[in-house]
């Protein structure tokens, strides 16, 4: 099984660290206005090094584009900032590493982290993951559609906290996306399910599913079908219509 995990918002708590910076820069700012993860297309949120025009990204959070840019400028000016993040669910990466070794999964961490002062985002991420118990991670720092990345890497499953990335995976690849949705909004997982995207409330829940998925198949059902079943997704459609009277009243056509 070939898997990819997103980092920020999925396993790494970028939001808390970013919120701290935001409160320092803009006292009284609502923490919910701070992005939970980095955008795969580089910056939309004002991260440095972006060549995406600002107007092509729609700001629907309550932090203005200018504020977001200032925030990211401050973050990227700090040395090895990515190593200061906490793990969202302590112990989840160590468990993931154990499973990867036991089950012989191929796993890659995919991230759109912008560069900060100090080492490369990839090197910082490597050290950070190792410190959390994932000893020898493969990390791919890449911008662009997660769907195209999933197709290029021939992934089976991509785990991500951004619904938009999960949509990209569904559109551009044959991989299955699992959305990690920690919000209490009941409608978002339901919408994801309607679009064939599985939704879990935590990494531990996701790992439970992946673990069960990797058990030997006793029913002759494929991995993707079992995954769809475990995530409560509809199986492939059967006959669309009931059988009706055969003969139209007119015309041979």
């Amino acid at each position: 099984m070939r898997l990819a995990f997103d980092l920020d918002g999925t396993v790494a708590d970028m939001h808390s660290a970013l919120a701290r910076e935001a409160r320092r820069l803009f006292p009284g700012i609502d923490a919910n206005a701070v992005p939970r993860s980095t955008s795969p297309e580089g910056d939309g949120t004002g991260t440095p090094g972006s060549d995406t025009p600002e107007e092509t990204r729609i700001s629907i959070g309550s932090l203005s584009s200018r504020q977001q840019r200032e925030l990211w400028d401050a973050v990227c000016g700090q040395e090895n900032w990515w190593e200061t993040l906490a793990e969202i669910e302590p112990g989840s990466l160590a468990r993931l590493y154990r499973l990867v070794r036991e089950r012989k999964w191929e796993l890659m961490f995919v991230t759109s982290r912008p560069e900060t002062r100090g080492d490369t985002a990839q090197a910082q991420s490597y050290r950070w993951l190792a410190a959390q118990g994932y000893e020898t991670p493969s990390i791919f720092v890449v911008h662009g559609s997660r769907g195209k990345i999933a197709a290029a890497l021939a992934l089976d499953i991509l785990v991500d906290d951004r619904p938009e990335n999960c949509l990209d995976v569904a559109i551009d690849s044959s991989a299955r996306a699992i959305l990690v949705w920690r919000g209490d909004e009941g409608k978002v997982p339901a919408s994801a399910r309607q679009l064939g995207i599985g939704s879990v409330g935590s990494i531990h829940e996701c790992l439970d599913i992946l673990e069960a998925l990797d058990r030997p198949d006793t029913e002759g059902v494929g991995v993707i079908d079992r995954l769809k079943r475990m995530l409560g997704l509809k199986s492939a459609g059967g006959r669309g219509q009931g059988r009706s009277a055969a003969v139209p009243q007119t015309s041979a056509r």
């Binding site: 619904p163 009941g186 059967g238 669309g240 059988r243 009277a245």
Partner: protein
């Protein structure tokens, strides 16, 4: 000028007389009609009360009521389809008693005038219902008649028959150049008999029209082992046969049927392509949505419509294929895909997920706008409300960005 006055006077008098005569005639006809209706109502009411009584008692009851009625009136009453069986039996016995059943057989055999034609069709209905021994011969003769009404009556009565020979007559009529095959097929389709094996035998008929209708009608018999034969017919030289075969395979076929439908997606005849594409939808082959979607831009409007219907039949699972089509170079494909996404009811979900994303890309919002513009969607406030307190305001802002009209929740 005296003569002119006289002429005018005579003309006026004649006009008055003509008007009076016509009025009297109309009144008389109306009165007769009312009397006839009253007689029939009284007869049926009397028979209703005596439905459990012996036949002799029923006949004794209606004889005085129908004493003065004509043969046509009695035939008319007996030929009504909604007359209950016990009443029908009594009326036919009375007919037989007064004019003999042979008179009906004579009427049913041929006609010369329009009045005879009515008698013939009515007699055929009565004899068919009664199960008279000569019924099938008379009906077969009727289907051969040059008069279309008589032929249609014959076909309809054969179609209702439980006699296997009636099916023989209908199947023979299918190949008749004088009769509309689709009309004959309608009666075969309505037959109370199981025609599976009979129709299967016709799949190799020399006449394409017979093969076509046999293949079409077999859709009623999903348990009939005909898939292999129908798969062969998808290569038939006649496009009507190919169309019928794939249409039926769409309803009763398996995965092999899907493979044949895929081959027919490039058939040179538009209506064959249309039925092939619809068959894939009916077979639930969402894995073939990528092959169906290009037909959203087919040169023939019917194929384009069938492609939309087929993709809708496949269900919400095909939405990624449709979203990919939104950037297609053909505007029919783009618009058709947007319309299907809307009809699948997944636009709400796409909006919800984009809104739940921090700062969604402008390209995604443009994509949603393209889908929405295909149908002039109006969103109710319920979409915002259902999204909850955090995502709800984001949904509203996204909808505003897309320029969609808001309406109050119903």
């Amino acid at each position: 000028m005296m003569w002119l006055d006289s002429v005018l006077f005579v003309t006026v008098v004649l006009a008055i007389v003509a008007w009076a005569a016509l009025s009297a005639y109309i009144l008389r006809v109306e009165r007769q009609r009312e009397a006839t209706a009253a007689t029939l109502a009284a007869t049926l009411a009397s028979l209703q009360t005596l439905q459990a009584a012996p036949v002799d008692e029923r006949l004794a009851a209606i004889r005085p009521i129908l004493q003065a009625c004509t043969r046509e009136l009695l035939m008319h009453a007996a030929a009504e389809r909604d007359v209950p069986d016990h009443a029908f039996e009594s009326l036919v016995l009375l007919l037989n008693e007064r004019w003999g059943i042979d008179s009906l057989v004579r009427d049913a055999g041929a006609h010369a005038s329009s009045r005879d034609k009515w008698r013939r069709m009515t007699a055929l209905r009565i004899l068919a219902r009664r199960g008279h021994a000569q019924t099938l011969d008379l009906l077969a003769r009727a289907t051969d008649d040059t008069d279309v009404d008589v032929a249609a009556t014959g076909l309809a009565l054969l179609g209702r028959s439980h006699d296997p020979m009636a099916v023989d007559a209908l199947l023979a009529a299918l190949a008749s150049p004088r009769l509309s095959p689709s009309r004959v097929a309608v009666y075969l389709d309505q037959s109370p008999q199981h025609l599976g094996s009979r129709l299967t035998a016709l799949l190799g008929h020399a006449e394409p029209v017979v093969r076509q209708w046999a293949a079409t009608l077999l859709a009623r018999y999903p348990d009939e082992p005909v898939e292999a034969r129908l798969l062969e017919l998808t290569h038939d030289a006649d496009p009507r046969v190919r169309k019928a075969a794939i249409q039926t395979l769409g309803r009763i076929g398996s995965d092999d049927a899907g493979d044949s439908a895929i081959q027919l997606l490039t058939d040179p005849v538009p209506y064959v392509r249309a039925h092939a594409v619809r068959a894939l939808g009916e077979l639930g082959r969402s894995d073939q949505a990528d092959r169906v979607s290009p037909l959203l831009g087919d040169g023939d409007w019917w194929v384009r419509l069938a492609a939309r219907e087929s993709l809708e039949m496949m269900g919400a699972e095909v939405w990624p294929v449709l979203v990919r089509c939104l950037d297609h170079r053909d505007k029919f494909v783009r618009n058709g895909a947007a319309e299907v996404v809307q009809n699948l009811g997944v636009l709400d979900s796409l909006i919800m997920l984009e809104a739940a994303t921090d700062n969604p890309a402008g390209t995604k919002v443009a994509m949603l706008r393209r889908i929405a513009s295909a149908g002039g969607v109006r969103f109710t406030e319920s979409l915002v409300e259902r999204a909850g307190p955090v995502v709800g305001p984001r949904v509203r802002r996204l909808l505003d960005t897309m320029g969609l009209e808001h309406v109050e929740a119903v």
